[in-house]
């Protein structure tokens, strides 16, 4: 029998064949073998590791996850077969993938106040917004190093985004946008040059005013030329940043002048102020999220319990879905980048498929959290993985192929206010305990 040690006392066995899409060093011979049916994924993982070790003595043990008919095994094999109504007579095809689990908890980056916004779209820097009105840029690396502090907002930062996600090596400047509770959006540019010592203080080169209440979210469109923002004044505003970027290039020197001026005078130089190109009206309450995943399509979620899809050129609603709860977060991703994941004023993370005709019921509901969900993000490349953060202090990793969370990260001591993927294998999250936590080593193929 197999050298798994538990084969002798196993009463029942199933014929199984291990298959994988992993690269060759992690492939086991495709022959079918008898496997004790009481094994869980951990036992199966042991078997695969032993098989790999037989062929390659240098193999290091690692956990695997197992898929049967596209569903992750989360219980004993026999229970799974009974639950899914799969015959135990056939040769079971067990596809194994690397288990998705956080392997490393990096040192948290301390802040002066609650961390309310985080962006991990740049692979070498992390952008965080904080309740102390500052936006910070953190460099990746083992040492917690804050490279830039962006000053200017007078209210808590609610959202911060990189407009350019090009790497630092080939680009000298960052281009950023932030939204705040002071009703303004600010555009920033800063030098990415490495420098030792204190973080560089940077001021905004442009202020986007127009919202009459606090800005809740900011999002950049795929072409990186437009941004959209959702606000408590129930509107979504679209802003053009392409031309302002060009303006910004010319006014980089005058920035400091303005900063000096602003200290003495409250009025803002009109030249530095930008106006919205268009406003999307339709929501009846605070627009908590607006995202722009597609050049022509924009999604928004609101406290009026609805998720709306907007056609950007015409500025009209094309799809409305009412879910019954005030929504705090929304993200588009998954299969074909078309699934809508949203969470709000209840502990359930819901996923809808807007392509499905005639039904507005969520296709997936995940309810392992115990409080409001504050953030949800699809993995940038995987169709199955997403993360959610909640006020109960937990960040959870989800796989659409199982109803249980893949991993629960309890690194925060208080509410988690924001979370994002970073460098495809890490999760960054900020919370009310004034920390930015980075969990890395999450391998997702």
């Amino acid at each position: 029998m197999e050298p798994n040690g538990s084969g002798s006392d196993a009463s029942r066995q199933v014929q199984a064949r291990f298959v994988t899409r992993l690269p060759p060093p992690l492939r086991v011979p495709p022959a079918s073998m008898a496997v004790p049916s009481h094994l869980t994924r951990f036992g199966l993982s042991d078997i695969v590791n032993l098989l790999l070790k037989n062929s390659d003595p240098d193999h290091e043990n690692q956990p695997f996850d197992f898929l049967i008919d596209g569903e992750l095994v989360r219980m004993q094999l026999d229970e799974f077969l009974i639950a899914k109504g799969i015959s135990a007579e056939k040769v079971l095809e067990l596809e194994y993938v690397k288990a998705v689990a956080p392997r490393k908890q990096e040192d948290p980056r301390p802040h002066d106040d609650w961390v309310s916004a985080v962006d991990g779209s740049n692979s070498s820097f992390i952008l965080t917004g904080c309740y102390d009105t500052f936006v910070r840029i953190w460099k990746s690396g083992d040492v917690s190093e804050c490279t830039h502090v962006l000053e200017g907002h007078t209210g808590a930062i609610t959202s911060a985004k990189f407009i350019d996600i090009r790497g630092v090596e080939n680009e000298q400047n960052f281009h950023l946008v932030t939204g705040s509770k002071d009703r303004l959006l600010r555009l920033w540019k800063c030098d990415a040059a490495k420098r030792r010592g204190d973080p560089i203080r940077v001021g905004a080169y442009k202020i986007l005013a127009g919202h009459t209440s606090s800005v809740q979210s900011v999002s950049v469109n795929p072409s990186r030329e437009m941004i959209c923002s959702g606000s408590w004044d129930c509107s979504i505003k679209l802003w053009d940043v392409k031309e302002s970027e060009e303006d910004g290039d010319g006014t980089t020197i005058s920035l400091k002048k303005r900063k000096v001026n602003s200290k003495t005078k409250e009025s803002v130089d009109a030249r530095l102020e930008g106006a919205a190109t268009s406003t999307l009206v339709g929501h009846t309450q605070c627009v908590s999220v607006a995202t722009w995943p597609d050049p022509d399509v924009l999604y928004s979620a609101s406290w009026d319990h609805s998720v709306r899809q907007w056609d950007v050129p015409s500025g009209k609603e094309t799809w409305t879905m009412v879910c019954g709860k005030a929504l705090n977060c929304l993200d588009i991703g998954g299969e074909g980048s078309a699934l809508v994941a949203a969470g709000g004023s209840d502990p359930v993370l819901r996923i809808w498929d807007p392509r499905k005709p005639g039904s507005l019921a969520p296709i997936f509901q995940y309810s392992s959290h115990s409080s409001w969900i504050s953030a949800c993000k699809w993995h940038p490349r995987s169709w199955f993985h997403l993360l959610s953060a909640s006020y109960d202090g937990k960040v959870m990793l989800w796989d659409l192929r199982t109803a249980w969370p893949l991993a629960v990260m309890e690194s925060h001591q208080d509410k988690v206010l924001c979370a994002d993927w970073w460098k495809d294998d890490s999760v960054v999250s900020g919370g009310a305990d004034s920390k930015l936590c980075i969990t890395s080593g999450i391998e997702i193929q």
Binding site: W114, S116, Y131, A156, D182, R183, T212, S213, S214, W232, E266, Q285, C286, W303, D304, G324, K325, A326, N328, S345, D346, P347, S371, W372, Y391, K415, L417, A432
Partner: protein
């Protein structure tokens, strides 16, 4: 001795009787010599074996009557009358007529009888119409019967007593004393008594009724089952015992095999619920004596005793009403969603009981006032405390201005009302508010114009607002929906109890006459109406005419808070004894419904602005959420459904939930507790 005597006497009698018929017997002997021979031969036989011969004779005598079949078969009918004129006297066994014998005339028969020496032995048998000649033996028997002796001479009526059964104490035999004489002679006293009765009857003292009354027989049906009869039911007593089953049923000691459960069946009984399990499991016993005692006997008799001991001795009149039918028909809670159910967010920071909360009209911020001398503004979405004012005194009431472009908070301290800019507006609003909350000449104009003004407006430097001084402690504050006027209530008996203030003019007035001690006052949400609650009544005023329209009688001991439905025609009133009254202003001045829900004081009742919900908070640490549909149709009464009890606050110094407010746009409820926490309950 006695025995011999009897024998003697019997022999004497024989002699006597025989002597009576001496003549006849002498004749007989001659004629029936042949018979005699026969008889003697019989006697010989009998002498050989007396007992057996006796039996034989008895048999003969018994069968002799049967042997001679009666010739006539007509039966027992009066022959003389029926067959008097007939030629026959009847029919023989074959149905032929039996002819009558020719009658002899009397003379001829007399002569014949005189000639015949045996004539005296002849009898005429009327039935068979023939003459029978009796034999000598028969004559003897007749003679013996007549003389009162046994018919047969062989029978000894006084045989010796044979003691067949030996017994031990033979020395005490039954009494062998002869019968006393008095038993054989008629009683003298009886005779006297009878004579006495006869004399009385003759004298008419005793009346003997001729008519014997026929006894009425009580006829009843023996076989009918009268358990169901009306009579039985009326008396309500008798219930017959069930008929016992025939042997071979499952509870018999040796029931048929098909009743015996298998071991698997017995095991399956173990898995059943207690009530589903069969009461009796049949078992087989070889014989009746091996049936054990009933194992539950003691327990059951104990239970029975207990039942009888505890059972009520009177018959209860029970009305058979389905309890479900008594419940009011209310819609299911599921259909009334959304409403607040679960607490997801807590606002922590206050150091003392939170007395009051208020939500800003947009639903983004929450203001709270506490005993710790601070007023705070919170961000609802995250639970972050945005602003703290150190007011220095206990903040009793806090109220957000309902106008969205006037983010002003009114905070009630002991004697003062603070008007503060909340800081939640942009720069334009900020400058406007600063202008609004600025008094150019502090207090001077007011005091000069009206010396007995109820309140003085003073600039409050520390928090950059207005401080309004009242002459007495302020109990409640309420803004008008347009945000310019507001009212404060000073619980005092005089006419200055209710004050109306105008923010834009910084002016106060007291337009109302005195009416008891007011508790709280509120504005109508859309019309120019004003509600003042005193301890027991709610007065409704028309503000444009300044006159009283209605006076609502609550029937509670002390009103603690009131709230007006957004439609304006319905009011809820919370009282300090835990009762809540719903008034429909168009229906009546008495409560449409009174709900007794809380065990302690109700601290606050409140309506939701948009959802059909209202809530009550109480010192018993609970908040109740109710659904209330108010129909536009005047004929339909409001529908009130209790939905949820919200718990979570902990009691502190006997106080529980001190305030509750709904979110203006979401079906969420904020509760402020004495445990210094504000909770948000979401749907």
């Amino acid at each position: 001795m006695g025995k011999e005597k009897y024998e003697e006497s019997s022999s004497d009698e024989e002699v006597n009787s025989s002597s009576d018929v001496v003549e006849a017997s002498s004749d007989e002997e001659v004629e029936s010599s042949s018979d005699e021979v026969e008889v003697s031969s019989d006697d010989v036989e009998s002498s050989e074996d007396e007992s057996s011969s006796d039996n034989e004779k008895v048999e003969e005598s018994d069968s002799s009557e049967d042997e001679v079949a009666p010739r006539n078969t007509v039966g027992d009918i009066p022959l003389v009358e029926w067959h008097k004129d007939e030629e026959h006297i009847g029919y023989d066994i074959k149905g032929r007529k039996i002819k009558k014998q020719p009658r002899k005339d009397k003379l001829a028969s007399f002569i014949e009888g005189a000639d015949d020496p045996k004539n005296w032995r002849k009898i005429y048998d009327e039935y068979n119409d023939e003459e029978i000649e009796l034999t000598k033996d028969e004559i003897k028997i007749i003679q013996r019967v007549i003389s009162g002796r046994t018919p047969h001479a062989e029978v000894n009526p006084y045989e010796d007593y044979v003691d067949w059964f030996e017994y031990e104490d033979k020395g005490h035999p039954l009494s062998n004393a002869p019968e006393p004489k008095r038993r054989f002679i008629p009683s003298k006293w009886e005779q006297k008594r009878v004579a006495n009765l006869v004399r009385k009857i003759r004298a008419g003292l005793i009346k003997v009724s001729d008519q014997h009354k026929e006894e009425e027989h009580n006829v009843y049906s023996l076989w009918t089952d009268d358990t169901d009869s009306v009579e039985n039911k009326k008396h309500g007593g008798y219930v017959p015992a069930p008929k016992p089953k025939l042997p071979g049923h499952e509870e018999a000691y040796n029931p048929p095999v098909e009743y015996i459960p298998t071991a698997e069946e017995i095991n399956s009984y173990e898995l059943m619920y207690e009530e589903d399990r069969p009461k009796f499991i049949p078992r087989r016993y070889l014989n009746y004596r091996s049936v054990p005692a009933y194992d539950k006997g003691v327990k059951e008799s104990f239970d029975r005793c207990l039942d009888q001991y505890l059972c009520p001795r009177t018959r209860k009149k029970r009305i058979n009403i389905d309890p479900e039918s008594l419940k009011p028909k209310l819609p299911s809670r599921k259909d009334l969603r959304p409403y607040p159910t679960t607490c997801y967010l807590e606002y922590r920071g206050h150091m003392g009981p939170v007395n009051c909360i208020s939500v800003d009209p947009s639903g983004q911020w929450l203001a709270s006032g506490s005993t710790d001398g601070t007023a705070r503004v919170w961000e609802i979405e995250t639970g972050r405390c945005l602003k703290i004012w150190e007011v220095g005194e206990v903040a009793r009431q806090i109220c957000w201005n309902p106008s969205p472009d006037r983010p002003i908070l009114a905070v009630v301290l002991e004697y003062d009302v603070l008007l503060l800019y909340s800081g939640m507006g942009d720069i334009d609003i900020q400058t406007k508010m600063k202008e609004l909350l600025h008094i150019s000449e502090p207090g001077a104009t007011e005091d000069a114009g009206d010396s007995k003004s109820a309140a003085t407006w003073i600039q409050h430097e520390k928090h950059d607002g207005i401080r309004m001084k009242h002459f007495k402690a302020v109990s409640s504050i309420e803004w008008h929906f347009k945000g310019d006027y507001f009212t404060t209530v000073v619980p005092s008996g005089d006419s200055k109890a209710i004050l109306l203030h105008q923010l834009s003019k910084k002016h106060s007035e007291t337009p109302f006459r005195k009416l008891g001690i007011p508790v709280t006052a509120v504005f109508h949400p859309s019309k120019k109406k004003f509600f003042v609650a005193t301890k027991k009544f709610v007065h409704v005023y028309d503000l444009s005419k300044v006159e009283k329209i209605q006076k609502l009688e609550t029937g509670v001991r002390e009103i603690s808070s009131i709230s007006i439905h957004p439609g304006g025609e319905n009011i809820i009133v919370g009282s300090k004894e835990g009762k809540m009254c719903w008034f429909d202003l168009e229906l009546s001045t008495r409560p449409y419904k009174t709900l007794k829900v809380h065990s302690k004081d109700i601290t606050r009742v409140t309506f939701h602005r948009t959802y059909p919900l209202f809530a009550s908070a109480s010192d018993d640490c609970t908040a109740y959420v109710f659904h209330s549909t108010v129909y536009s149709d005047l004929n339909q009464n409001p529908l009130i459904v209790p939905l949820e009890i919200l718990r979570g606050h902990k009691p502190e110094h006997g106080r529980g939930v001190l305030d509750c407010k709904y979110h203006p746009r979401q079906p969420w409820l904020f509760t402020a507790g004495a445990d210094s926490i504000i909770k948000l309950y979401c749907h």
